[in-house]
């Protein structure tokens, strides 16, 4: 299992109870984790955990010139994918009404989801706009569009296909990574902070006016 875990980490996978249950159990053992960390330390890497401690991933041990280029590439990927991924989860939350979807292990049942989307014009329109963000051909049917989006989400490790026959997907611990990114941006980027402050002030004013 040691070898498998090392390869999974080196390939950039997120290891959690949902995506890699055996590897996750292995890493949850302190002794195993230490042996993996010792090994990775020799190549200047370490094992990092997501904020809720439900997933493991590979991280650089230090920030130097060698790492800078890779980190820049990685951050560029995050910047590009942030909008579409957030739009996807927002659409799914709206369609299912399940706020807990942003939790590792949450279930997405495509048949149920498509049933709701088919019945609601606004959800269909939202799916179209998510599809556009993912650069998926607008002339595809809603079902095909959803399948293409889900495929991208699986490739990006946010979801895994748990039951292909019933089209059931599970949310992986990478969702926590996404929430970490959002938290950091929301707390540090002045553009976002000022906009959210304005929104909150407006909401408070509306509440006050109503009262």
């Amino acid at each position: 299992m040691f070898e498998r875990v090392i390869f999974l980490l080196l390939e950039g996978n997120f290891i959690c109870h949902v995506s890699q249950p055996e590897a996750y159990s292995f890493l949850n053992d302190e002794n195993n984790l230490k042996s993996v960390e010792d090994y990775l330390a020799r190549i200047e890497r370490r094992v990092a955990r997501t904020s809720k401690q439900t997933g493991f991933y590979l991280a650089f041990a230090e920030y130097g010139d060698k790492e800078r280029a890779k980190i820049r590439t990685s951050y560029a990927d995050i910047k590009n994918s942030l909008g579409p991924v957030v739009a996807f989860f927002q659409a799914i939350i709206r369609a299912t009404g399940q706020e807990s979807l942003l939790m590792q292990g949450s279930i997405i049942e495509v048949d149920t989801l498509m049933g709701r989307i088919d019945q609601d014009a606004s959800l269909r329109s939202e799916l179209q706009s998510v599809g556009v963000r993912f650069k998926i051909a607008a002339d595809a049917s809603h079902r095909k569009m959803m399948e293409a989006i889900l495929k991208r989400m699986v490739n990006d490790q946010y979801l895994i296909l748990n039951n292909p026959e019933r089209s059931i997907y599970l949310v992986t611990s990478k969702i926590e990574y996404l929430l970490d990114v959002i938290k950091f941006i929301s707390e540090t980027d002045e553009t976002v902070i000022s906009s959210e402050a304005e929104d909150e002030a407006l909401a408070e004013w509306k509440t006050g006016a109503l009262l």
Binding site: G12, L58, R68, Q90, V192
Partner: protein
């Protein structure tokens, strides 16, 4: 005997009523109540009320009996908000213990009738307790598996989780109480030993107690961790919603460049990894057999023909020879001969024309004459525009008297 017969009649009547009015019962279960509307259903509702299947729920309104509702909820696996599952378990445990005590006292006092009733009720109490545990645990497991799917928002899930965590704790407390009462020892130490009590308690409670303990502990652990996760998630959900709203309002937003900033969060240090590739070493003798096996299992390479694409042109297949269809030389010659003859003012000799115009044609004179003679029959309308006249001579043999064609004279009509 009379009492049993009366009970049987009541049961039979109740089952008949259930069967007779099943559509109305189903309607009330799904809609929640029935209001008198002056139809035939009013009478049916009254009849159902007589059998305690319906209960009055206000003026001219009927509701389904809570016992039947609960039974149908079990059948349909319907989730009820804040369902009471474990609260009654402790009371049921006490009842089982009290009935054992009652039995003991009745036997000591020599009241056999009362002892029989106590035994009968003990069986029923054990069955009810077992049912409460198994049904309650199965419901809690279902809720845990579906993450309280009946409610959507984090707050509602949080409240449901707290309630059902409490229910699981009630079950746990009832089980502790069951352990503490040592009912099995109490039954074993009875003044007059009763195998029926022992068997009932063992099969319905004792043998399943360990399983219940395990399941309840698992459920409590799940609900507690889920509660913790829900509480942790709540601010994240709020932040996510705000950020998603911000992106909706600012679709062109791009996060700032952070890689050069001094404050680098952990997520930014993630290594996206590398694609692992490995190659077999053909020099490694130990891997030889395996490599042979792999090689033999490889599919044949597909041949592909690549063609350069050119705009506005459909390219033919490469190396394809162009086939030109031409009529045979003698047909061309015949055609020319006929045309010349038709145009000519004087008759033309076929042999003369051949020698003059097609000296190189590899057709003997006699064959040429034969072709000219039969050309009308075989080569179409063009040849019908001329008339043939044979130049013949008789053969020298007196017997055969064969005719020999020496030439054919052709002229236009």
């Amino acid at each position: 005997m009379k009492r049993q017969s009366a009970t049987t009649n009541l049961l039979s009547s109740a089952f008949n009523t259930l069967l007779k009015h099943q559509d109305l019962i189903q309607q009330v279960y799904l809609s929640g109540s029935f209001r008198k509307d002056g139809s035939k259903n009013d009478r049916r509702a009254y009849e159902l009320q007589q059998h305690r299947i319906f209960i009055t729920g206000g003026k001219e309104t009927f509701l389904l009996s809570s016992h039947l509702t609960r039974f149908l909820d079990e059948v349909t696996q319907r989730q009820r908000l804040y369902d009471v599952l474990g609260e009654k378990a402790a009371a049921q445990v006490t009842r089982v213990w009290t009935l054992v005590e009652e039995y003991k006292k009745s036997v000591m006092a020599g009241r056999t009738d009362e002892a029989d009733i106590a035994i009968e009720d003990f069986h029923m109490a054990c069955a009810e307790l077992a049912d409460t545990f198994s049904t309650g645990i199965s419901k809690l497991l279902y809720l845990a598996e579906t993450n309280f799917a009946v409610v959507n928002s984090i707050e509602a899930k949080n409240r449901q989780n707290r309630h059902f965590l409490q229910q699981a704790k009630y079950f746990s407390s009832a089980l502790r109480s069951l352990d503490g009462l040592h009912i099995e020892e109490e039954i074993d130490n009875l003044y007059c030993e009763n195998d029926s009590l022992k068997n009932t308690y063992r099969t319905l409670i004792l043998e399943r107690k360990i399983e219940w303990h395990t399941e309840i502990l698992r459920l409590i652990q799940f609900f507690e961790s889920y509660l913790f996760r829900l509480r942790e998630l709540a601010p994240d959900v709020k932040r996510f919603r705000q950020f998603a709203g911000f992106l909706d309002q600012n679709p062109g937003y791009e996060p700032p460049d952070l890689e050069d900033s001094h404050h680098r969060p952990q997520w930014m240090m993630r290594d996206i990894g590398i694609r692992q590739e490995a190659y077999a070493d053909p020099g490694d003798r130990t891997a030889f057999d395996y490599l042979c096996e792999v090689t033999s299992s490889l599919p044949e390479a597909k041949e592909s023909i690549s063609r350069m694409k050119e705009i506005g042109r459909i390219e033919r297949a490469p190396n394809k020879t162009l086939t030109v269809l031409r009529p045979p030389v003698h047909i061309v010659a015949l055609s020319r001969f006929v045309r010349d003859a038709a145009k000519s003012l004087s008759p033309i000799s076929a042999l003369y024309w051949k020698r003059e115009n097609c000296p190189d044609m590899d057709v003997p004179d006699d064959v040429w004459l034969l072709l000219v003679i039969h050309s009308k029959d075989y080569y179409g309308s063009e040849f019908s525009l001329v008339r043939h006249q044979r130049v013949e001579r008789r053969g020298e043999s007196r017997i055969s008297r064969n005719k020999f064609v020496q030439d054919v004279i052709v002229h236009g009509l």
